[in-house]
Symmetry: none
């Protein structure tokens, strides 16, 4: 997650800058560049950053966009989906893949525009690609912080690709153990007077399906068989 | 994107509720449930909703979590990644895939906890799955609105790309039915002398996890409760 710069252009509200800092730090990004911010730093900015003050303190402030992008070999600008423009457009997932390919060899910038009007045409044309977040066509404008959060989240997901989901390390019951459970269950159901022999095949099939779906591990098999034994014991105790 | 309810538990700041409403509407979600919100509605709430007032106006307000979940057949709770707990955990992408499979046949809830402390253990245990957003291990707590945004964004992405797996059309047991099963199970285990009160919490948690994984439908709940009644002796008592 090195070599990735988040660039905010003429942000109006300090609170949004703070929210962006927090979102960045949550997603392991740390390089923030501000182009002509209207309010910075403000109290609300610090409050919304909520512990990501280091990002704000180290943020660079620039007079214009060119200055913030001078060392970047790839620039991607956030925009609503533009049907009229034939600029190459990515969704956040495609964007993350491209960015991570490129950070190996150089600096990448992700540019987010003004709260109300986004990036100007001239600014969009400074970008190699545009990224747009899929949204409700009737209500498509995301809050600035939210947009940064979504794009950063995809970077985080891409950087962790393949290594995140912990393997299931439980010692799952083998086929023989499951068979043992089913035999015990059938016997116990008979002992407690639940099983009607005429319908037992269908019922047992149903219960097997249920327990197969549950994918019990060995401990759980033992617990279940303990319960069955207790149910059988109570009955025989009553009978005696 | 129907049949998906966003549930916020004891949210402290009205502004966050507004941000959630906007994030939801951006991502084509519209059903918001608030459990004992501290401030609602407030001026900041309406300001942050920024045109998503309809979501706030139609939001339901509940006294407790159970009430907000009563008709839900799948409940997923947001939490930090828990290494100590072996509750089934999903990342937002896996979560979205599962949710879209299930909305065909029933109501799904995504539950988000308090700003500072998240969901309690008891609340997490009400969930079939947990969803956690990958984050900086040294700074992992996302703002509430941001967390809803990320999870909702993945739902939007999944709904646009189409789910790969066939939808599950079984009539799955609702949260209330599962609760009924667990109460019955606990009582039956006590009746047959299986439950050691000193260890019962841990054991019941384990059994809940097993049955949540099995995802029983309504017929299966009836069969399981029939077995429990038989073990308790009620069924044979009836026959006598």
């Amino acid at each position: 997650m090195e070599n990735i710069r988040i660039v905010l252009v003429e942000t109006s509200h300090g609170g949004n800058i703070g929210a962006v800092a927090r979102a960045m730090k949550n997603m392991c990004l740390n390089e923030l560049a501000l182009v002509a911010p209207r309010q910075f730093p403000t109290e609300e900015c610090m409050a919304r950053a909520s512990g990501a003050d280091d990002i704000l303190q180290e943020a660079s402030v620039h007079q214009n966009l060119d200055e913030a992008l001078v060392d970047c070999s790839l620039v991607i600008g956030a925009s609503a989906r533009l049907r009229s423009v034939s600029w190459p457009q990515l969704d956040p997932r495609e964007c993350a893949e491209l960015v991570l390919q490129r950070t190996v060899s150089g600096q990448v910038a992700l540019v987010f525009g003004r709260e109300r009007t986004g990036l100007s045409n001239a600014e969009l044309e400074r970008c190699n690609y545009l990224v747009n977040i899929p949204a409700n066509p009737d209500y498509s404008s995301l809050n600035l912080g939210m947009a940064v959060q979504v794009v950063s989240y995809e970077l985080m997901m891409a950087s962790q690709h393949g290594s995140r989901t912990a393997p299931d390390t439980r010692e799952l019951a083998g086929a023989g153990d499951m068979q043992g459970l089913f035999n015990h269950l059938e016997q116990a159901l008979e002992d407690i007077g639940f099983l009607d022999p005429r319908k037992s095949d269908k019922l047992m099939r149903r219960l097997k399906r249920l327990f197969y779906r549950a994918e019990p591990d060995m401990d759980e098999i033992k617990i279940l068989r303990g319960i069955l034994s207790a149910a059988q014991g109570r009955k025989s105790a009553r009978r005696e």
